[in-house]
Symmetry: C2
Subunit: 580 residues, 2 copies
Amino acid sequence: MVEHSLDIMCLNKYGPSSSSSSSSDGEKKLFSKLKVSLTKKYPHKNAQTLSAQYGTNLLLIGVSVMLALAQHGPAVREEHLLTFITVLMLVQLAWMICYMIRRERERSPVPERDAHAGTSWIRGGLTMLALLSLIMDAFRIGYFVGYHSCISAVLGVYPIVHALHTISQVHFLWFHIKDVIKKYETFERFGVIHAVFTNLLLWCNGVMSEAEHFLKNHRRRLTALGYDNITTVEVEPHCNCTTSACSMFSTSLYYLYPFNIEYHIFVSAMLFVMWKNIGRTLDRHCNRKRPSTRSSGLLIGPLAGLLALASSVTVLVVYLIHVEKSEQTREAAISMFYCYGVVMLACMCGASSAGLLVYRLEDWPMDTGANPSRTLDTELLLGSSLGSWLMSWCSVVAAAAAAAGGSSFRWICLAYSLLLVLEKCMQNLFIVESLYRRSREDEPAPPEIFSVMPPYDGIVNRGYETQDKRCAALDAEASENRQGFGRMNGDATVPAGNRLNVTTGRKRQILKNITIFLFMCNVSLWILPAFGCRPQYESVLETETFGFSAWTTVLNVAIPMSLFYRMHSVASLFEVFRKV
Amino acid sequence: MVEHSLDIMCLNKYGPSSSSSSSSDGEKKLFSKLKVSLTKKYPHKNAQTLSAQYGTNLLLIGVSVMLALAQHGPAVREEHLLTFITVLMLVQLAWMICYMIRRERERSPVPERDAHAGTSWIRGGLTMLALLSLIMDAFRIGYFVGYHSCISAVLGVYPIVHALHTISQVHFLWFHIKDVIKKYETFERFGVIHAVFTNLLLWCNGVMSEAEHFLKNHRRRLTALGYDNITTVEVEPHCNCTTSACSMFSTSLYYLYPFNIEYHIFVSAMLFVMWKNIGRTLDRHCNRKRPSTRSSGLLIGPLAGLLALASSVTVLVVYLIHVEKSEQTREAAISMFYCYGVVMLACMCGASSAGLLVYRLEDWPMDTGANPSRTLDTELLLGSSLGSWLMSWCSVVAAAAAAAGGSSFRWICLAYSLLLVLEKCMQNLFIVESLYRRSREDEPAPPEIFSVMPPYDGIVNRGYETQDKRCAALDAEASENRQGFGRMNGDATVPAGNRLNVTTGRKRQILKNITIFLFMCNVSLWILPAFGCRPQYESVLETETFGFSAWTTVLNVAIPMSLFYRMHSVASLFEVFRKV
């Protein structure tokens, strides 16, 4: 590492200096030192800080333009924002292509790879999301072709560049996301962080467009029902569509937005892990893949999960149909949603509590080793919970402040909000507990979703060392136990001496069932708001207490965060399932 | 650590089990295991997560009430918020008193203390801020006494409880902030995190009150000048003041708000460090105080800094006088502010660049050891920069979007905004570089402002080990060098062989001067907005581009963050000064 070589240089430099009397020698030394100083490798932390500041400011420029766009003024239009994002995507494209070409040429030595970064299943999932994103780009191109005579050319260029960007990025994810960059580190840091924040900006843009579209429909619906007479700003093109499919394109587009949004935020997180990995030295002992786990004894969990998923889809369809109709059906739809929500959240709380109880009863050891990726997972979980916690507490305050004699709806809403807070807390605890448990004594800590290798420079992870020493000692024992597990699965009558092992096996089954049930519930709770089921916008209580503007702002922030939370929980629960 | 004892239990448990044929024995084992499981110490990470979630939700409840209060509706009033905060303060008071009493009783063994947490100078500074906060409470009590017949009793109880809370907290900071808690860890985690978020909520409340007061004055001024005819919601009491000092109290209160605000946010950060330290094992080798450094050769830096401070105070006074007068004087005051800002920021950029250049020329080694406190410092710096970066980029977008032929004011504003971004970036880089440089080879890394000991469990910080090994080896050399430095200070004609040491001494002088200059500039840039100099609210460009509501929201978030950034930079630069 550069820091160690610097130390050696210092040790040499601060030793007793040899005497030299010539001033020109001194000047030459100073000059050569200056030359060396300005050309040597930029220190790790400084490069990180510099690149982080660059990326952050890039994002903030984009956010400023979006804020101006939200005003719908004449000065800042959608074309300006799309031009900015197109330029960023082109820069990222250029960097990725250079990187991939350089990697192709430098076949030897084989670059180090972090085996835990970007597992196959997550890359597969992202590829599917990317495909849907490409379909979305195709729709945008189709829409442009229809209105090309009166809309800006940027609206045609943007989806083309986005499609190329998506294809290259997927290729990059499959073949280079695991790379641990060791050459041209400072330059690559900028490249990777540029990619992180470009995807983050694309996520922001998607969220904003989708929220605007939702609010437009919401206001139109309220106006139709007679509640609201705010005129919505219509931005339809002035010319006629030259094809017959324009309205089909523009409508279908919004069904694909949720996938596009999740694609960008997940890619952003994966690239962030790659950025953290730059310059790291891998701990080879633990850089091996986890063996796959057998899944048997799964019945209740999957069944209950499928039931939850089916009911969620039903609720979604019924809600979307009835909320557009009359006032009564709208209120009935909203009540139905909240009742469903209360039942669902109560079951999820119960499942998480059961899981936590199992962990308290079980003596599996905790994994106390340093694991930055796990910290990142935990921070993402807790951070993305903030949005819906704020939304829930606002609902609680509104329900508490509502005049006496409020409708029974108020109590359902209160129960829903409190349960939402409780459910997220318990689920977070369950996931964190699972991630911080060592599953078996003879295996290293499993890979996380976003895996960053702990830094080697200056830190030795004793957790890993101790594991390896224990590996040899426990190998024999653990294999004996595994054989025991193998015999016992499905065998009801066992010798009493093996009853503890049976209990452990049963606990694992329980945990697996709980995990898969929670997995499917989180998928359900992602589907509902992603496809338009957002009754919080309809809520009169909060609108009266906080004002329409403030409440809408809270929701516009909380709902995208909640969507990310559900997706991330899905990924975390899948890892927990594999671990158990 | 509990995790290690758990490991030992597992090693015993997963060994070859002894045969036992009686079913009641098995049941007894299960029962005892259940009993042990539910009473044993709660794992470290789970307790952290649980307490963090508790604290976060506490804060979000408060924020929801504040959002409702901002609406000025009949349902949620100031008394409700103050009641909630009073209850939180009382709970914290009770916890602190119990803690202090318990510590008094348990004199042996002496609890471990983190020598780096809460340095004397920072506690001294916080004590001064607390004193000003107590004066503020006295004013509030005075105000209540004047209007007690028609305002809620809560407005009298709150300042009394706040005063008691402040006094106990200061005592706690002086005698217990360094404690590394090892008993009743889970309970204490909740106590400490409760204290963290109570102070954070007090900070939010202070920021909100202060912003509301500022906006009220701002709107009144605009109305007087004929720009705005929005009627402000006046919340004056309905009865007459029974003393002659009510208006004096209510006016003076707002001059003390900045100190109260900074007090709470800094205490919150220190308590957060204490929370992170719970259950940690100290690395005794490096838990020693840093020797004090000599400060000689300081002239240019302090002079320039004092000049900056004097000009800032002048600008503040002139601005506050002239902005209330006519339209012309108002515009002149704003232009004066921006010109001053451009000059100041350009000088600060220059100083930070010079400092970074010195570091590139110097070969002082980097300190690559794990140091969570330093990471916290860096994160706080970068995080609190976000607000003013967003504000600046919004100004840039507004200036770029403004119609052609805009005033020259637009270009000054553009230059100011760009320089503000650049100045913060460069200052952050300079501070991070300074914190990550090892000052002398024979000393361990210096304490950070908010110091958290690296965890011992599972991680050995080789950086510290290597330092100790090097300590012995380099002691002789370093003392020889120090003698050399001592001889050389002030000695112009030196042997050529010692020229490198002279150069190093000179570089240190340059860095000290730069640091002290930046220190005083940051103090100046804190004073200006803290005492009402906020011309961004007057800016027409941004208001037209983003809308009054959005722009005001951005400012209401950005300016408090910027104030915290300046304070934190002041503290960081002081540490850098001591290090150099």
